[in-house]
Every structure is written in C-alpha cells, then in structure tokens.
C-alpha cells in the first residue's frame, strides 16, 4: 500500500467530547483530511484538559459559529467539498441547527452522514439525554461487571472510546458502499446498542437457562484458576488465567506444587473451578514473593497467560508499548514535547499512521476558508469580526 487507506477522503467533523472525536482521530491517522469545526461560543468540553491532545491528533481545526445564518451557509459550502460528515449531538439537535440529512444530502448527494447519539435516532426514548457512563448501566453492560453481591460498579471509561472505534469502522463500511454504488448514506448509530451488542453471553444465558447473570469479579464461569494475585508491594497484582490442563501443570511446577498437578481432583477445569478458593490461596503463596512484572516473566516463560494489573501511568511507561513504537513524540499546544498514543495496528510494508499534534481552535481557518473555499481574505476578516468565524 503506497498511500494510507483513507488518502483523498475529506471528513467534516461536527462532533465533540469523546466518541465522535475518537472516530475521526482514527480516520485522520489513516489518511483522511479531517476538518474539525467548533466555536468559542460553545467550546468542546474536552478542551478542558490534556485529553483533547489525544482525541484530536492529526486534525485540522476551523472555528465557525454554525448557529448564525452565514455560519450555516459556510458549513454547507464545506459539505460540498466533503465525503463524510459526522456528528454526535443529542438526537434532534442537528436538525434544529438546520443540518439534518435531507438538507445535507441536498447540498452533497453522495455524502456519508454518520449520526451518533445515546439511544439512536428513532424509538420512544430517542430524546433521552445520555452520557457514556450512564449507558453502561442502561445497557446491562455494568450488570455483569463488579464484585458478586455488591452494588453495581460505577467507574470505567468504556462506552465512548468503544463507540469511537465502531463509528470509524461504520464510516469505512459506508465508504466501501459509495465506492461500489456511487451513493452516500445516512447512518443512525446508537451508543446504547453498541454496548448491548457486546454482552451476547449474558443475553443468551438468560434465554437458555432463565438466569440473570451476576457479576463474577475476576473469575470466569468455566476457567480456573482465573484472577489477580497479590504480589510484592501495596496494591500490586498479577492476573493469571489458566485456560487448559497443560497450563495448569506448568503453573503447578512453577509454584513448586507438583502435588496439585498430580491430584486428580484438579485435573480438569470443572474440578479446578469447584476448588478455586483453595487453589487461589496456593498461587498467592507464590506470587506474594515476586514483583508483578517479574511474576509475569516467570509465568509467561512457563507458558501461562499472565500480566500485571496496572494503573494508567504504568501503562504509559510499559516497555511493550515503548519498544513496539506505539508512542510518537509530538509538540503539544503549550510548546512541550510529549509522547502521545498511536494506533493499535500496523500496515506491514505500508505507510505508518499520520500522527500530528492536536490543533487549537481556528488554527486552520486560513486553509479552510481561503484555500479550500476560496473566500477572499477581507471577507474572512469580516466574518471573524462579526463572530461568524468564531
């Protein structure tokens, strides 16, 4: 592959906060020209912190107040030269702004419009206001996560990033369709459904067995041993998952417990599952003598799936990511050089991802309005003055 896959595609990005910007970050890093449009009148809430630097890598950023008549006209001019437009406002907002699919597709008939909202754009609860963390509760996703018998978990940044990647996938699917048929499409995306689609085991368990699945902590329905085990140091743990009998025998040898490997009571997963508390104690007696990364090295050498339970700062410093070239040093808007994240895939023998620092609002106004739309500089200056390009 000589060019990045989305080379030549232009994306008009009306999205904000996390999910939409995550999607367009994937597209930008894979070669699309992403023009993020925002306004100082109603700033993207994610501009508040460093997160913005990650969510908006590789994009162009133009300022535009689309609630003005002239601003709306400029959006339409941008639509004419765009392949994709993406938005993630609450359902109905984009229509009230005068940018519903009927309007958008009249301006550019083969455009792909991707619209993501909490509960989708049809149905009795389409107007429900949502945050990703709430949708994790609404969709049953959190109902199978947590410690058994306790209150539901409330943490976890999951819904938005997951939806972000899925939106990028869906957009690429629509681009494929356009390449074949020449036609654009409107895509109605529901964040809630994206989450409910990821728990098929629980949905089918209920239908098969009448059972409302309870959370299991770190344990598994079938495999054992399966959990995190205390290592040297406060709040240090190594995760170990034994998925077959051979791994079990290797683990017993490593922790100097050949008696457990020889005991027929633990010879299969069902027996180990039944006696998991006892086995967990035996494993902890070994792990507590080791640092978590050291335990992983020893376990992996023995062929046992394992790894430390890490906080985000340790992930940032993870040798695996460093040596695999996951980070790229970029100059953030404060002038400092910082290591920022990349993509989870590599195009072998092809170009690397396009990764640049996140822009600041209005940084690319000249390119977007003068070069791309061909407006005279005096006209742009007037619209800045009138708080349209704002």
């Amino acid at each position: 592959m000589s060019e990045l896959p989305l080379h030549g595609i232009r994306v008009l990005d009306l999205s904000w906060i996390i999910a939409g910007p995550t999607a367009t970050r994937f597209m930008a890093a894979m070669g699309a020209e992403v023009i993020k449009v925002g306004s100082a009148r109603r700033p993207d809430p994610s501009t508040r912190g460093p997160a913005f630097q990650a969510y908006n890598q590789s994009k162009l950023y133009a300022s535009l107040n689309i609630s003005t008549t002239e601003g709306l006209a400029l959006v339409k001019q941008l639509l004419v030269v765009s392949d994709v437009v993406i938005e993630n406002f609450a359902a109905g907002v984009i229509e009230r702004l005068g940018l519903g699919y009927e309007v958008v597709s009249a301006v550019r008939p083969d455009i792909i419009m991707v619209a993501s909202s909490g509960t989708g754009h049809s149905g009795p609860h389409k107007d429900y206001v949502a945050y990703g963390s709430l949708l994790q509760h609404y969709t049953g996703w959190n109902s199978i996560s947590g410690y058994p018998g306790r209150e539901p978990v409330t943490g976890g940044l999951w819904a938005d990033p997951w939806v972000g990647m899925e939106l990028a996938m869906v957009t690429a699917a629509a681009l494929n369709n356009r390449a074949l048929t020449g036609q654009g499409q409107y895509v109605d995306f529901s964040m809630a459904e994206a989450l409910s689609a990821t728990i098929p085991e629980a949905v089918l368990d209920y239908q098969m067995n009448g059972r409302v699945k309870e959370p299991l902590g770190n344990r598994d329905d079938w495999y054992a041993p399966h959990g995190v085990y205390h290592c040297v140091g406060a709040d240090r743990w190594v995760a170990i998952a034994v998925t077959n009998d051979a791994e079990w025998v290797s683990l017993c040898q490593l922790i100097h417990r050949p008696d457990l490997a020889a005991d027929p009571m633990y010879a299969d997963a069902a027996g180990r599952h039944e006696h998991r508390d006892h086995l967990d104690a035996a494993i902890t007696a070994w792990t507590i003598q080791h640092e978590d990364h050291e335990a992983m090295q020893l376990l992996q050498r023995a062929g046992v799936p394992s790894g430390p339970s890490q906080d985000i700062l340790r992930v940032f410093n993870e040798p695996q990511l460093r040596e695999a070239g996951y980070f790229t040093e970029l100059q953030t808007s404060d002038g400092e050089l910082r290591d920022l994240p990349g993509l989870p895939w590599r195009l072998e023998g092809g170009p690397g991802p396009y990764l640049t620092e996140a822009p600041v609002l209005g940084q690319h106004n000249a390119y977007v309005y003068q070069e791309l739309l061909g407006l005279p500089e005096t006209e742009v200056d007037r619209m800045i003055e009138d708080q349209i390009i704002y």
């Binding site: 945050y131 098969m208 770190n218 339970s309 590599r346």
Partner: protein, 387 residues
C-alpha cells in the same frame, strides 16, 4: 472473506463484516473452533453446536472444516484464498505463516489480498510471544483500575475486569476497522494489505485520554478512596454522578453541570437542603459527596428506577435505569428499534441475538441471514465446487 480465527477476536471481526453483507466462510479445524466449548450452554451442558458464545459470534457465516496441516487441506485453502478479499486470523493456535500459508505465500496467488492478524501483543516488542486472555489484557491495559474505581481498602479489593470478553472484542473491532479501511483502498487502487493488530494496543487505545494525562506528568487516579480529590473522566464519583438505590433496583444519574443540577433539584421537588453551602456548587458537592448521596438515596429508595429516570429525563437530566439483560429483552425502546434479531438454529433452537448498533439508509443489514454453521455444514456445497 475467510475467517480462520478461533475463539473470540478473529471471529468477532468476521462477524462484523458478515453483518455488513460480506460473504464470510468460516474455516474450522476438523475438531472445531475452540469457542464451541465456551459457554453459555442450555442447561449448562456443554455441546459443540449449542455454545451461546459461538452461536452469537458466528451467525451469518458459512462454515467448512479443513485440516490446514494436511496437503489436501492446505490446497483447498489456497483455492479459497485465491478469490478472497480479506482473511482474518488470530493465532494461536492457528498461524497461517507456520502452516506455510502466510501473507507472502498467499499474495502470490492473490496479489490484492488483505490479511489481518490479531495477536495479544502484535508481532513486535518484548511481549510478542506472550500469551494473554481477556482477563490479562483488561488488567494490563489499565482498564481494571478504572472500572472498579477507588475503594476503601485497595489491598483487599483488587481491580476487576468487566464481564463478558470485552478485551477480545476490542481486538476484533480494531481488526474490522483496519480491514474495512484497507478494503476501501483496495476498491480504489486494487492494492492488498497485511495488517498486524495488537489486542493489547487496542485496549490501551481505549484509554488515550489517560495516556495524555500521563504525558502531561499527571499521576494516575488513586485507587484509595481517601486520596480521591477530583472525579476521573468517565467514572461516576461524587459530583459527576452515581447510582441511587430504588424500590426495584438502582437508577444511574449524572447531573454534572450546574444547569443539570438545578433541574435535578426540580425533579426532587426542591428539597430544603439544596441551598446548604455544602451542596450549592459542583466543588462543594464533590467534597461532600458521601452526605449528599445519603440524602439522594433517602429520596430515591421509595421510587422505582423507571419512575425516576422518566422524571429526570423530563427535566433533561441524564439518568437511566440500571438494567439487567432481562430488562433489555423487554425494553420498549430497543423493541421499537428491532434491536434483537431472532435466528433459528437446528441444534440450539430459536434465540434472540443482539443486533447491530447502526442502521444504514436504503440498505437493510443481513443480520439474520443464517444461523451459525454446524461443524462442516458447507463442506459439500463450498469445497466440492472449488476449482
């Protein structure tokens, strides 16, 4: 598309392509995909044609069995590969390269082939040969710390993974995203691609906001509740939101902005304590969240989760009932959107499966085109006709 994957990540990638309309042929070893032995099963009785996980991941695909280590099996595979647009694999146990069927060999017979390989850590870095499962990836990537959030005693409450197999699904979604983009390029230029996907990096990429905080020298959010000063993004602690006990379960609320909080007070009929300095600003609510949540809980406990979420949404306050899968299957909104799709399977019977999160204008997705294949179901119809 050929799905040589086993277990979860590879087959999930192929499932996505199948529900987008691709003709997906699942190539299983003669003994079957490992997922056939993963639950749930009817009556908790393992049966290779009745695994709920396998059925969900492999609906809408055709299925053949091939022993790729045998000359005949490899030859049949090369014939299938010659006309494939995309092949997905997620070794171990099956690595096409180890079988002499890697990218270089297949590219000779199909120059425009897209080969996507998912492994736990990718083909690079010190852990490239390490084994990992969903549990391991969830913990290593930082998600387990975030999901549980802060606790009173970190040494007795270790971090936990999410239910299901989220880390493996993320690896599969990353592969589908990259493959779909590569397929677009192929349609424009005819070029193929070899894509290497790391499930670990896919999980890490879900937390780029946290990585950005680290890049700015910020500490990781503490796991010790007594050390929490500000609520983390996405988490629901204190002023950001949380769950309230109800007469029939829980409701999740998040009146995090001042305007939302004002409207939430209307939902509660403007309680007298609302004007107290301890609760009048977001910072104050964060500082005094234990006593605040006690007051909120005293109000919520006598009302149902649906009643509270309806009252909240009427005031445009983000709030939702805390649901189980049972609630989902009877949810009127999901029913109206026909989210669940019913598929009849010859061994497992008729079941409702979660559908897709997206609807394309003018195109109906083939979400219930056929049930997951029986082992070797299409050997006759597909393998017999190979030329």
């Amino acid at each position: 598309m050929l799905d040589v994957g086993q277990g979860i990540s590879g087959p999930y990638c192929a499932k996505i392509l199948a529900q987008m309309g691709a003709e997906v042929i699942k190539v299983e070893p003669p003994e079957g995909d490992a997922a056939r032995h993963m639950g749930p099963f009817p009556g908790d009785d393992p049966h290779p044609e009745k695994s709920g996980l396998f059925l969900a991941l492999n609906a809408n695909k055709y299925g053949v069995t091939l022993d790729l280590a045998s000359p005949g099996g490899a030859e049949a595979f090369r014939k299938l590969a010659a006309s494939a647009d995309i092949i997905i694999e997620n070794p171990p146990p099956v690595s096409l390269a180890d079988l002499g069927l890697g990218y270089d060999a297949l590219q000779n017979i199909n120059p425009g082939l897209i080969l996507a390989s998912i492994t736990p850590f990718g083909n690079r870095g010190p852990y490239k040969d390490f084994k990992a499962t969903d549990l391991v990836l969830y913990h290593m990537s930082g998600h387990a710390h975030g999901l549980l959030g802060a606790v009173e005693d970190p040494d007795s409450d270790p971090p936990i993974r999410a239910g299901g197999h989220q880390a493996e699904l993320v690896g599969g979604m990353a592969a589908a995203t990259a493959a779909m983009m590569a397929l677009y390029r192929k349609r424009i230029t005819g070029e193929g691609a070899r894509i290497d996907i790391s499930s670990f990096e896919a999980m890490v990429t879900q937390l780029i906001s946290g990585l950005a905080n680290s890049a700015y020298g910020r500490p990781a959010p503490p796991r010790d509740l007594s050390k929490v000063e500000e609520a983390a993004i996405g988490g629901m602690v204190g002023a950001i939101g949380g769950i309230l006990p109800c007469s029939d379960g829980y409701v999740a609320i998040s009146p995090r902005e001042d305007a939302q909080w004002e409207r939430w007070l209307l939902v509660m009929d403007s309680p007298a304590w609302a004007t107290d300095d301890r609760y009048s600003t977001r910072d104050a609510r964060q500082k005094n969240s234990p006593s605040l949540w006690k007051l909120l809980s005293e109000w919520s406990i006598n009302r149902s989760k649906h009643e509270i979420s309806r009252m909240g949404q009427e005031q445009r306050v983000p709030c939702f009932p805390v649901n189980t899968v049972l609630d989902l299957l009877s949810d009127e909104h999901l029913a109206h959107r026909e989210f669940f799709v019913e598929i009849e399977h010859p061994a497992a019977g008729t079941l409702k499966y979660p559908g897709a999160a997206y609807r394309f204008s003018g195109t109906e997705l083939p979400l219930a085109a056929r049930p997951a294949p029986l082992l070797g179901e299409h050997n006759m119809s597909i393998l017999k006709n190979l030329v």
